[in-house]
Symmetry: D2
Subunit: 208 residues, 4 copies
């Protein structure tokens, strides 16, 4: 992996699924990721990254999971295991607090807000690729939840689509430490062009 | 995960990257996967599955990785880590033995042979989805190499595309046992509708 | 073109852009299509088709154009000519009457409502293909507006995706009669599997 | 339509289906397009454009139709009307003169040669989008055959994918003049960012 520089005009910061259910005390999924998140300082790292990329003039794109609504998936022939669980837990419910943005990570003016993704990849069945292409984006930094599901699928799709892909090992979380290990030590190194820490990424961003 | 039945007309058996370099003694990648492959009986399982799905009248689709040719990737802005390694190793070289089919798994008349994929997913930048749709396929069984790269990405894409997805835990291999664990115990259960052994899958195929 | 039968379980009726701006007196675009629409009896034909496909138990999918919002397209490198015009006319404005459903063609319970498309094809950058695949759809009937833009692009994409595609020559409209001619006599016959009248299609639907 | 400039590094010249069957005396389809082609000077224009874009340092991408082979389409549920005709005519047969490149338009070193497309769009079910993205392409110029089928579908898909799209009205042909009219006067102006003559495009290319 060679050292990466991030072109100001060509880089997008993809913030995946920044919902209260994932990131806030009281969220439906938060308790499951809290041990890993606390251990790596997830929320603080996301805050520092968010500030740093905005200061650097880099495009922010919010990449939101489909918000659950009554009836979802019920007429599908074969919802995925994750989708079946959402049918029971109603995670990210539309119109509820859990499906609202974590207050620190709500979209700001000028951000891209992609269409909601039904599965794990923010590129699958959404407008994300076209929206990035319409702004000349060639490099994506993928952070948020979960390391081995939505982050990994979004990153795998990004590579296949021809983007330069960066993962940030302490700006994501998972249900278990071994899932973080799988994402960053086993799988990520085969498809991601860079796997950095928050501090390393901030140091590599374009300056002033 | 509910018990799956496989519709004869609607199921395809996706055999990913059945090249000598992956599956044959003397292949460039084979030594790296041999410990895992031998441990689970990969080649025998693939042979049994191949015979069983053909006997059951299920569509076979060969899903081949791009065969390396001189010049490949050299003008790309950012080949992936796996692609950079192929630039050095020339794995699956076109016109060479390593890039030829393992003799037991060469396409047979009536098989679909998809376009070669450049990355990890057999669906990305190829005709595989359309070819399956043109034959009414709704269920895919994904086997071959490697469990955590091409098999996993092909399966992740298949789920996003709306297919029912089955992994077969002893009909694939990887560089390390922990990669098999990641594929089948950590990641697969979030996106795959069924994760079976070869014996379990054969028992679930349509009979007579 | 061979005679087509429409499988009840495998057919979807794609109703594209049924907005007041397109279909209602007082809509922003309606005056431009009114001569063609009146000439062929567009609204009545859409009503008859809508009733007939629902009576036949066929899946209805609403395929809506992106509803204009302030700021749309402004940061894009190169909006298309149609998108540039929407930047001026604000057609299909979100939250306004023009961007609301024509009252006869609002979604009903059980209908698929696809994500909004930004361009001309209801399949591009949306979840439409996956939603159809999750219900085993193999045949699509594409009606609505405009014959040579959104209907034609949706139909061209459907063919590439592997669907059986039907156009209905008097269930769409365009700005000029020669555009209808182009859609149904020049271009459609190269990619559509059937081009029928409303009466012919109703006669071909599954009975009882 | 605003005046377009073509960035040397960001523009690709997509030459669609430059086969003998389309472009050479004795080709299977050539007699059908000869009246239109001769009228506009198609072959000379393609030669002039090819020379000009290469001199300007612009990336050339060959976008080839699937070459017919025995058995093609026979197991498909619903080949398109164009595909059904190819089943009869064997146009662009692999290994035959008709499916070989017109000698003036064979790929040269450094050209992208995309995977063969089965339908009308050079982007559908191929690697063309990824190949362009891997070289930072944002603008595409689409020329070759036929104006209202492969050229139009390739251009419609390019717009949806987020590219800037240019058509060249005298560097394509069709079976009838009214198809040229439909492509360039009725449909193209809704999705293409520029519709130029060969002379206009050459004048707009980057100099020296």
């Amino acid at each position: 992996m060679t050292e990466t520089t991030y072109p100001r005009e060509g880089t997008a910061f993809l913030l995946v699924d920044p919902y209260n259910d994932f990131l806030s005390e009281g969220g439906k999924v938060f308790p499951l990721i809290k041990p890993v998140a606390d251990d790596i300082g997830l929320i603080d790292n996301l805050r520092r990254l968010d500030a740093a990329v905005r200061a650097a003039g880099i495009q922010v794109a919010i990449v939101p999971h489909h918000r659950w609504e009554p009836g979802d998936y019920e007429h599908w022939d074969h919802p995925s295991p994750s989708q079946r669980r959402i049918m029971q837990t109603h995670a990210f419910a539309r119109g509820e607090w859990g499906g609202d943005w974590h207050p620190d990570f709500a979209p700001k003016p000028g951000d891209i807000v992609a269409q909601e993704h039904w599965g794990q990849s923010g590129f699958a069945n959404t407008d994300l690729d076209m929206r990035l292409k319409q702004q000349g984006i060639t490099h994506v930094i993928v952070v948020g939840l979960l390391a081995n599901t939505c982050i990994e699928s979004t990153a795998r799709f990004a590579m296949e689509l021809g983007y330069h892909v960066t993962l940030v090992r302490d700006a994501t979380a998972a249900l278990k430490p071994e899932m973080m290990h799988a994402a960053h030590e086993l799988n990520g190194p085969t498809f991601a062009h860079a796997i950095l820490t928050t501090a390393e990424l901030i140091a590599a961003l374009p300056q002033g």
